[in-house]
């Protein structure tokens, strides 16, 4: 007698805030995860990765790894109960390794069309994302939602030699992809490196194109053993639009996952 499948687990506070519920497609297209030196937001990406590849849904992931190698994410997700190697073999995960940042060219002089190697490099990267989506949807595709995860935006800026324009152009194409291909985009961004006036404009650009902002920061009271930080989720009614809802709760990062809870609800 075959064992019955485990009952679907209840959504946690982050999933509830994002309207993810029990599987299904998210009601948003572009989410930025902001963190700082004191509180890394990488656990949010791990959480998205695990959720998208969970057996409860038919989701697929295209992961742009600029900050860590595949083995790092594999190790982390194994402790969370998700085998990335198996998921990759099953065509549910496409990992684009960009660790060496050599995918963008060095030549910054433009050709007659106004392009340089950096733009051509981003165009190639966009092409690789398209090919991954094509591969995901070519065989045994059952209509599941595709999530594109980028870890992280600051490495894209490094690869672009600090050119915010090229990064924003690339994000524009990714953003249009979310509406054409029915997928969503999750990007990790380190807010505290954007401290100059020019960099603040970059943050403003990102604010205008995102419809969800997930902010991980330290507790205002300082470091605590049982509470690792505070999370704020801002839901807008449209990209760069009005704030529709604001959720705030705390979190604790564990080896096998992360716990989200309201302040004062843990003992």
């Amino acid at each position: 007698m075959n064992p019955s499948p485990p009952p679907p687990r209840d959504p946690d506070l982050l999933e509830e805030a994002l309207g993810l519920g029990r599987g299904g497609s998210p009601p948003w297209r572009l989410a930025f995860v902001e963190d700082c030196v004191e509180t890394s937001g990488a656990f949010v990406l791990h959480h998205f990765l695990k959720r998208a590849l969970s057996t409860e849904g038919d989701g697929t992931v295209v992961f742009l790894g600029l900050a860590q190698p595949f083995s790092h994410y594999d190790r982390v997700l194994r402790k969370m109960g998700c085998n990335l190697s198996v998921q990759r073999n099953k065509n549910k995960l496409h990992f684009i390794d960009l660790l060496n940042l050599e995918f963008l060219g060095e030549r910054r002089l433009s050709n007659e069309k106004g392009e340089n190697d950096i733009e051509i490099g981003f165009m190639d990267l966009y092409n690789r994302i398209l090919r991954s989506i094509e591969a995901i949807r070519s065989k045994d595709y059952n209509g599941g939602w595709t999530t594109i995860i980028i870890d992280d935006l600051s490495h894209l800026e490094i690869a672009a030699h600090g050119s915010a324009k090229h990064v924003l152009d690339f994000l524009q194409y990714c953003r249009s992809l979310t509406s054409e291909m029915d997928c969503s985009l999750v990007i990790l961004n380190h807010e505290d490196i954007h401290s100059s006036d020019e960099a603040l404009q970059m943050l403003s650009h990102l604010d205008y194109i995102s419809d969800i902002l997930i902010k991980a920061e330290t507790l205002s009271t300082g470091i605590a053993a049982d509470v690792h930080g505070q999370m704020t989720v801002i839901i807008k009614d449209a990209p760069g639009g009005l704030i529709k809802k604001l959720h705030s709760f705390q979190f604790k990062v564990k080896e096998n996952g992360v716990e989200f809870f309201y302040p004062g609800s843990r003992f």
């Binding site: 092409n127 070519s138 152009d169 509406s179 403003s204 205008y208 449209a238 604001l246």
Partner: protein, 377 residues
């Protein structure tokens, strides 16, 4: 004010004049500019569909949102879909602004979204001249040559400025404005994405500048980009400042209030209740930090020492040691037996006076005792 802007766009331009040009600007502090743009777009599209406007068609340059968004928007606002197809042309600069898609292999086995007849792709936003000619060709394509005019809307000039310089963009807008077949033109810009000179330069190209600003101004406490509670408070309401440039050169500044509801933006005259908003920002503490009306009146009546009261009488100073006479209603007014200052007229009369004020009531008059003797320095 918003009504008059809509009328101005509807009526278009006079013979021999450039087309009216509207700049809508906002910022992250109050990101309602897109909704205001949608409001004027839907209004003008309705008027074009009804045949009540000078413009007989509309060309929308879509840089920030997809053409399908605008088609859905106009449908939701009640513009007939067949009339949208007939009188609205969308230049799609959103899907492929840099011509990447033509140079990479197309997706296989993936259903592409259907294209509409009134949507044209534009794949090189860096070429401003080509953009100008594409807009004019699209407009002439459905209104023909001759005297018929069409309207132009650019959904986000900020995106154009990322690809090309300010002089190029200003030149594009000016060329459109001065074209004989353009009835009116309007655009949106996010002012906090650029230097102030950009907004200024575009203001010179415009006949009307409509600025969406928060009801509550940023204080130092709210300077952080991430004061979300402050943003939430400002989300649904805003101030709508309009700067009109008349033909005779006069510039008028007017203000309205703007608020968002389920349907869209609504405009209303400025109310006085918002003047009390900042007062409510005082911290909630157990003691009263404000003055009542009676306290304000009493404070205004206080006679300050060493200050000319300006009523022609001799300045009198209360030394705080004498009891008040019954005749004195104001306790702060000076007693006539204390020090008094002569007016200039009296001083020049030659009658000098010396008035001595004792340091304390214990001091005997004409005492030789040095009051500092007990200091033991």
């Amino acid at each position: 004010m918003a009504e008059s802007i809509s009328r101005s766009l509807r009526d278009g331009c006079l013979e021999g004049e450039h087309a009216p040009a509207l700049t809508i600007e906002d910022s992250l502090a109050c990101p309602l500019g897109s909704h205001v743009f949608d409001h004027f777009l839907a209004n003008l599209a309705s008027q074009i569909a009804d045949g009540t406007s000078q413009a007989r068609g509309l060309v929308l340059v879509a840089l920030n949102r997809s053409p399908s968004f605008y088609i859905d928007l106009l449908r939701r606002k009640g513009v007939d879909a067949s009339l949208v197809d007939k009188w609205v042309r969308i230049l799609d600069c959103y899907s492929d602004p840099l011509d990447w898609k033509d140079r990479i292999p197309p997706l296989m086995n993936v259903q592409k979204p259907s294209t509409r007849e009134n949507v044209s792709f534009f794949r090189d936003v860096r070429d401003i001249n080509k953009l100008l000619s594409s807009v004019l060709d699209l407009g002439k394509g459905f209104v023909g040559q001759g005297k018929t005019r069409f309207a132009v809307a650019v959904d986000l000039v900020s995106n154009l400025l990322r690809h090309t310089s300010l002089p190029s963009v200003a030149g594009l807008l000016n060329n459109l404005r001065s074209n004989d077949q353009i009835s009116c033109i309007f655009w949106l810009i996010h002012s906090d994405l650029h230097e102030p000179r950009v907004s200024t330069a575009l203001a010179y190209v415009s006949t009307v500048v409509a600025s969406v600003q928060p009801i509550m101004q940023l204080t130092d406490e709210h300077r952080s980009r991430r004061d979300f509670l402050w943003l939430e408070k400002n989300s649904c309401k805003a101030k709508f400042y309009v700067r009109l440039k008349r033909r005779n050169g006069r510039v008028k500044l007017l203000a309205e209030e703007l608020h968002m509801d389920q349907v869209g933006v609504k405009f209303a005259a400025v109310t006085s209740e918002n003047s009390f908003v900042n007062k409510s920002l005082l911290p909630k503490v157990q003691f009263n930090l404000q003055l009542s009306d009676q306290e304000r009146v009493d404070r205004a009546k206080v006679v300050l020492p060493y200050e000319h009261q300006g009523n022609g009488e001799a300045i009198q100073i209360y030394d705080g040691r004498r009891s008040l006479s019954d005749d004195q209603k104001d306790p702060h007014l000076v007693q006539p037996s204390t020090f008094s200052v002569m007016t200039d007229a009296q001083a020049t009369s030659g009658n000098g006076e010396i008035h001595y004020i004792r340091d304390s009531d214990d001091e005997q008059p004409d005492s030789d005792e040095d009051p500092d003797d007990d200091l033991n320095i």
